[in-house]
Structures are given as structure tokens and as C-alpha cells.
């Protein structure tokens, strides 16, 4: 029977099949961070268990640390320092490579896992963080787990799972001006719902995907979790192989040829079947922005938010979201004043994201009513951006230029926006209170956020191109 990419990843890691048809899978890499990793390591030690293979386990400081210049172990997060110091102590004791607060390679775990070549095509990778699906862009089976599952992988290098169902989403066509990978995924979620991925493993493919840079592919796969997918995948191609080569933990020269041959076999065979298939014509997509409190509450920037003409549960949920966001049914988002702008996160904290935003910001200034913050996703991104002078563009435009971390995506570092403040954000979740109690988050691409910061209101980024 013709195999899918995912079938191959699955069978390549099957240690054994259990009586009930589930499988015990070998896990190549574990990545942790100081919020949930510290709990997993502490609990493992309390139960008298060892990390089975510390060389395959990595940890980053990203979730609790703050992003102010000159930072250390202190953070505004109540109790935050304990997470940082416990993570340092427990990883050291277990012999795990930690990307510490001011390590020259520190950053958001999903960024540095790729930058360092820790996640490679064909790997199984888990991390106690839902956005681990980001790394599926490399053709790795990477997914988010809880702390207890993380403990199990640390102790046993395995996880038991029933094989998830599979979906293929094909994006075909050329991107319109101002449209990015962020708009593709917001469009998909807005059309099929936040539950649309239905716990399936999704393979993204199509002529649009073939043309996307590696960084854009990470953005696309990053929000598979907002689509309720088990995870996302993109088959490795030349773009992938060029990206991976030469990275710190990538295969050494003596294994290079064999590894590339192996990676090229990781694709879906013709006539392989999926539980569900979706085809998207990207020529119909324009820049997107969210209006509500779920990523499915997203519309094209020039469209009104929905009218609510029933009292169904869905209509009630939407009305609740509109009330929280300070909107009425049918209202248009364009022209709505904002008080905050945030560029960063595991979704859009990469060099190409900062470059795209800087192109809009160059020679312009942020509206005086807007607090604007840019947090590069990693030290490597920050260094490369500074080498290109992007920091000067952001700062001249009135943005704060921060140290890498998860930052204002979710109150990391104990920092949030205030109740009622409206924020344009390149992050992945517009949940109630996500960026601060009562704060109103609109998620969009870096170009959209930069344009809104300049205008002081939600605006169509195409006017700035």
C-alpha cells in the first residue's frame, strides 16, 4: 500500500506494537523549557528515576525569563526566579544541555531546536509545549506533550500512542501582495474552525508550500495546534536540506550523504490516501486579522466581522467574544484604535519576520498612542538582525528592542498589557486574558502589526507596501 510521509515516520520509530494496536514509539529528541521542564525533572528525581539519555535532551530558558536588556534571574513573574534556578540546577544534575538566560544561543525552544540542528528531518521530537508542531516544517514528527508524558520520555525514551488519522492540506498558487504564511494558516482556521484539524496529523503541500522559505514554513506549521491538529508536517526538499546543513548538531561530513539520501525518501507516495483532504487556492487570500478570542475568529482585513442571527451555541460564543473585544456584530475592524503592538514569538520571531516588519517601519514612526515592542525569537536572530541594522530601524520607529524569549505572547516575564488595551500581535493565540487580564489581542502577520503600529489603528498593510 502506498505510504504517506507520516506512515514512514511512524513505522521508522515503532519499537513495538502493543496488544491493543497502539505503538510504543522511540523518541529521538526531548526539548524542555523552564516552566514545565523544571516540574518534569523535579518530579522524575522525586520518584527516584533517571534521565535515560541526557545527550538527547535539551532545555531552554524562554517561558518565565523577562526580555528587558541586562536581564538576569529576576523577573516580574511572581515566583519566576524559582523556575529559573530550579531549571538550572536540575538540568545540570541530569547532564542536560541548557540554553541559559544569557547563553549566546538562547532563544525560544522551537527556534533554537531548528537553528542548532537539534531537530532534523525524520526525527521524533517532543517538548512540553503545544507549539512543538512548528518543527514539523523540517519533516520531523514533532508534537507537544504534557509534563507527565515528558517525564515518561525522559525516563524511557518512548511514548505509547494510537496512530493518529491523517489529513492533507494543499496550498496552490502565488501569494498576493502583503500575504504571508501567517495569513495562510489564519485563513485555513477561519474557514474550517479551531477544531478543524480534528486531532489529525496534517501534511502541508502544494505549489505555494514548495516556494515558501524554511522560516515561512515554520510559521505555517506553528499554528497547526490552533487548528487542533495532532501536528503538522512538510516533506523535506532542497529548501529543508539547505537549511539543515552545517548546523551545530546536524550530521557530520561522514554521515552527510547517507542522511540526505534518507531524508529524500521521506515523502508521500503517489496514490497514498488521507482521511481528509483540503485544497486551498491561495490567490483568493488577502491579509488576515483576528477579531475575537479564538483564532477561528479571523477575517480578511477589509471584511466585517460576522452578523449573529441565531441563538445557537456558536452564536453565543461569538457574541461573548465580541463583548470581550468591545465590538458589535457586523462591525468592520479597519480603523479601530490600538494601544499595543508586539512583534516576536515562536510564530513570527524569525529574521525574515523582522525584515518584513522593518520594511514597513523604515522612515516612519509608531503612533504616539501605541506601546510597540519587538522581541527577536533567539539570540541568533537578534545578532543577525543587528548585523543588518534592523535594530536601528525598529528603535528609530519607536519600538522597544528586547532580549529573546516568549515575552508578551502570554505574560512571560510577568509582563502583560492592561485590561481593555487593544494589541496587534504576531503571536498565535488571541485567547481571553492571554496577553494580560482583560487585554484584547488581534493576531496578524508582522507586516500587518507594523502597519497598525504606525497608523495607531488596525489598517490594511497593503497601503504600506
Amino acid at each position: 500500500m502506498p505510504k504517506t510521509l507520516f506512515d514512514k515516520l511512524w513505522s521508522n520509530h515503532e519499537v513495538t506494537q502493543l496488544a491493543d494496536g497502539s505503538s510504543l514509539l522511540y523518541i529521538d529528541r526531548v526539548f524542555m523549557h523552564e516552566r514545565t521542564g523544571s516540574i518534569a525533572l523535579t518530579s522524575l528525581a522525586e520518584n527516584g528515576r533517571q534521565v535515560r539519555n541526557p545527550a538527547h535532551v535539551f532545555c531552554a530558558m524562554d517561558h518565565i525569563i523577562d526580555t528587558f536588556p541586562g536581564r538576569g534571574d529576576q523577573t516580574l513573574m511572581p515566583g519566576g526566579t524559582e523556575f529559573i534556578t530550579t531549571t538550572r540546577a536540575t538540568t545540570r544534575q541530569a547532564g542536560i544541555r541548557l540554553f541559559d538566560v544569557n547563553d549566546p544561543d538562547q532563544g525560544i525552544s522551537h527556534l533554537i531546536s531548528a537553528e542548532q540542528g537539534i531537530t532534523l528531518p525524520g526525527f521524533t521530537v517532543v517538548c512540553p509545549d503545544s507549539h512543538t508542531c512548528t518543527l514539523g516544517a523540517l519533516g520531523a514528527f514533532a508534537w507537544g506533550i504534557g509534563s507527565s508524558d515528558c517525564e515518561q520520555v525522559l525516563a524511557t525514551e518512548t511514548l505509547r500512542s494510537q496512530k493518529p488519522k491523517q489529513m492533507r492540506v494543499r496550498f496552490d498558487g502565488e501569494l498576493n501582495p502583503g500575504v504571508t504564511a501567517k495569513d495562510l494558516i489564519l485563513f485555513l482556521i477561519s474557514q474550517y474552525g479551531a477544531n478543524g484539524g480534528n486531532r489529525m496529523v496534517i501534511e502541508f503541500c502544494g505549489t505555494t508550500i514548495d516556494q515558501l522559505s524554511m522560516e515561512a514554513r515554520f510559521t505555517l506549521c506553528n499554528m497547526a495546534t490552533e487548528f487542533s491538529a495532532f501536528t503538522a508536517l512538510i516533506a523535506p526538499d532542497n529548501t529543508t536540506i539547505d537549511y539543515v546543513r552545517g548546523r551545530t548538531f546536524a550530521p557530520a561530513d561522514n554521515h552527510l550523504e547517507a542522511s540526505i539520501t534518507s531524508w529524500r525518501s521521506l515523502h508521500t507516495e503517489q496514490d497514498a490516501t488521507f482521511e481528509q483532504e483540503i485544497v486551498v487556492d491561495v490567490t483568493t487570500i488577502v491579509p488576515m486579522v483576528s477579531w475575537g478570542t479564538s483564532p477561528e475568529h479571523s477575517v480578511r482585513v477589509d471584511a466585517p466581522m460576522p452578523q449573529l442571527d441565531s441563538d445557537s451555541q456558536e452564536a453565543q460564543d461569538k457574541l461573548k467574544a465580541m463583548r470581550y473585544m468591545g465590538f458589535e456584530p457586523g462591525q468592520v475592524l479597519l480603523g479601530t484604535a490600538i494601544q499595543g503592538a508586539f512583534i516576536g514569538s515562536c510564530t513570527n520571531g524569525r529574521l525574515s519576520d523582522l525584515q518584513a516588519a522593518a520594511n514597513v517601519l523604515k522612515g516612519r514612526h509608531v503612533d504616539p498612542g501605541v506601546t510597540a515592542i519587538c522581541t527577536p525569537g533567539s539570540q541568533q536572530v537578534k545578532r543577525r538582525a543587528e548585523a543588518l541594522g534592523l535594530d536601528k530601524v525598529f528603535i528609530a520607529a519607536g519600538f522597544e528592542w528586547r532580549e529573546p524569549g516568549c515575552s508578551l505572547c502570554f505574560y512571560a516575564g510577568g509582563e502583560g498589557f492592561s485590561a481593555g488595551q487593544r494589541v496587534m500581535s504576531t503571536t498565535n493565540r488571541n485567547f481571553e486574558g492571554r496577553q494580560g487580564r482583560g487585554a484584547r489581542t488581534h493576531i496578524a502577520s508582522p507586516i500587518m502589526v507594523a502597519a497598525a503600529a504606525i497608523a495607531g489603528k488596525i489598517t490594511d498593510c497593503r497601503e504600506f507596501l
Binding site: 519499537v15 513495538t16 502493543l18 497502539s22 510504543l24 522511540y26 529521538d28 516552566r35 514545565t36 523544571s38 516540574i39 523535579t42 520518584n47 545527550a55 513573574m77 511572581p78 547532564g95 532534523l120 526525527f123 512540553p128 509545549d129 503545544s130 507537544g144 506533550i145 504534557g146 509534563s147 507527565s148 508524558d149 515518561q152 525516563a155 524511557t156 525514551e157 518512548t158 505509547r160 479551531a194 477544531n195 480534528n198 486531532r199 490552533e226 487542533s228 548538531f249 546536524a250 550530521p251 554521515h255 547517507a258 542522511s259 534518507s262 479564538s294 451555541q313 456558536e314 453565543q316 460564543d317 502570554f410 505574560y411 485590561a419 493565540r429 485567547f431 481571553e432 486574558g433 487580564r437
Partner: protein, 209 residues
């Protein structure tokens, strides 16, 4: 892990879709490197009244602050309950507060696994069945769950069947530990790794790399 065999309790209807783990417990409520001490943070965005960021009392409009739901132990919800962040704190907070089971149309995948790992039973039922349970619980009645029979019944109602992987059912009924079970396969894992290392030598790092 704690055993789960059967349970009866007051069910709280919170029937919206996509109740995410940031709502269940916001980031700012996870203050310790610990699986305990989280119940006060449960649903804190809606559960309390605030002045600035200071809690100044219970929000009387929030269902868990209303009789009889302050003694609840079962939560009824809609689609995609527990979506979003992987934080297991959401499950720890629900369990510490006193919840024994959630009944929803579907779950965030990671939340579902986290719940099972902690003996909080995530039951999947259809929209109409959940609406029926919600209607019976509003008459101050209780919902009864029987894990051995895989049934749920509202007060006086006939039992409704639900599905759960046999693996998880046995795990919960016996209170088995997931890690102990996985450790039984260490020999198979050693064999696998030996073969796999020949095929993918670049995947195996040594401690000095």
C-alpha cells in the same frame, strides 16, 4: 496514580466551545515549580472581581461561585475543551479544585492525555447527550459515572454509554503508573536502538558532542 472506578457528583454546565487552558488557568497563576497549589488560580480570569490586577472577591456571576455548583465535581462543556497551551497545570488545577471528570464533545489532544495521566476522566459524549445531562443537573441533581461499565447517567435517566481506549480504562481502574508500564519494554527498546543506530547513525549523539 489514583484509581477511578465510579463517581457521582454535581455537574456544572459550561457549555461553550474552545474553552482553552489559558482560561482554565492563566499563566500568572502558575507561581511555583509544583503540581499543587493551583486550585485558587482555576478560571481566575472569570472567577474573581478585580481592581487593577488585584483580586477583591468572588465574581457572583461566575457559575462556580453559585449554589449548588460550589460543590461540583463534574464539568460539562462543548467542543475542543482544553485546547491551547500544553500546560498540565490546567489538569492539576481542575483536579485540586475537586473535579473528577469532564464531559465534553471533544478535547485538545494534549489536555486529553494530561487528564488521563492524572486520573481526571475526560469523557466524550454528543451535544444532545451533554445538553440532557446539563438539564438534569440544573434541577440540583447529580451525574453518575461508571468507568467499569463505561456509562454516564443523569438523575433518574437511563445510562448513556461512552467510549474510552481499553488501555486507559484499565490504567485508571487499576491506578497503574505509565512509566512503569513503559519500562517493561526496555529490552525491545535496546534492540530497536541497536538496529536504528546502524540505519541513522547521525541521530545518536554522545554525551561529549
Amino acid at each position: 496514580m489514583n484509581k477511578f472506578t465510579s463517581h457521582s457528583g454535581i455537574a456544572t454546565p459550561m457549555l461553550g466551545d474552545n474553552i482553552d487552558t489559558d482560561q482554565i488557568i492563566p499563566s500568572r497563576e502558575m507561581k511555583r515549580v509544583s503540581k499543587v497549589g493551583l486550585a485558587d488560580g482555576l478560571f481566575s480570569g472569570q472567577r474573581y472581581l478585580y481592581e487593577g490586577n488585584q483580586k477583591i472577591g468572588a465574581n457572583p456571576d461566575f457559575i462556580l461561585n453559585q449554589a449548588p455548583y460550589e460543590n461540583t465535581s463534574i464539568l460539562l462543556s462543548g467542543k475542543n475543551f482544553g485546547c491551547g497551551s500544553s500546560r498540565e497545570h490546567a489538569v492539576w488545577a481542575l483536579a485540586e479544585y475537586g473535579f473528577k471528570a469532564i464531559i465534553a464533545q471533544s478535547y485538545g489532544e494534549i489536555f486529553f492525555n494530561n487528564a488521563l495521566r492524572n486520573g481526571l476522566l475526560p469523557i466524550v459524549l454528543g451535544e444532545a447527550e451533554i445538553a440532557q445531562l446539563a438539564a438534569s443537573s440544573s434541577d440540583l441533581t447529580t451525574v453518575t459515572i461508571n468507568l467499569r461499565e463505561l456509562t454516564v447517567s443523569g438523575n433518574g435517566g437511563s445510562p448513556i454509554s461512552f467510549q474510552l481506549e481499553t488501555y486507559y480504562q484499565e490504567m485508571l481502574l487499576n491506578g497503574w503508573d505509565f512509566i512503569d508500564l513503559a519500562l517493561q519494554f526496555t529490552d525491545q527498546l535496546d534492540d530497536f536502538a541497536k538496529q536504528d543506530r546502524k540505519k541513522r547513525p547521525w541521530a545518536y549523539l554522545s554525551a561529549t558532542d
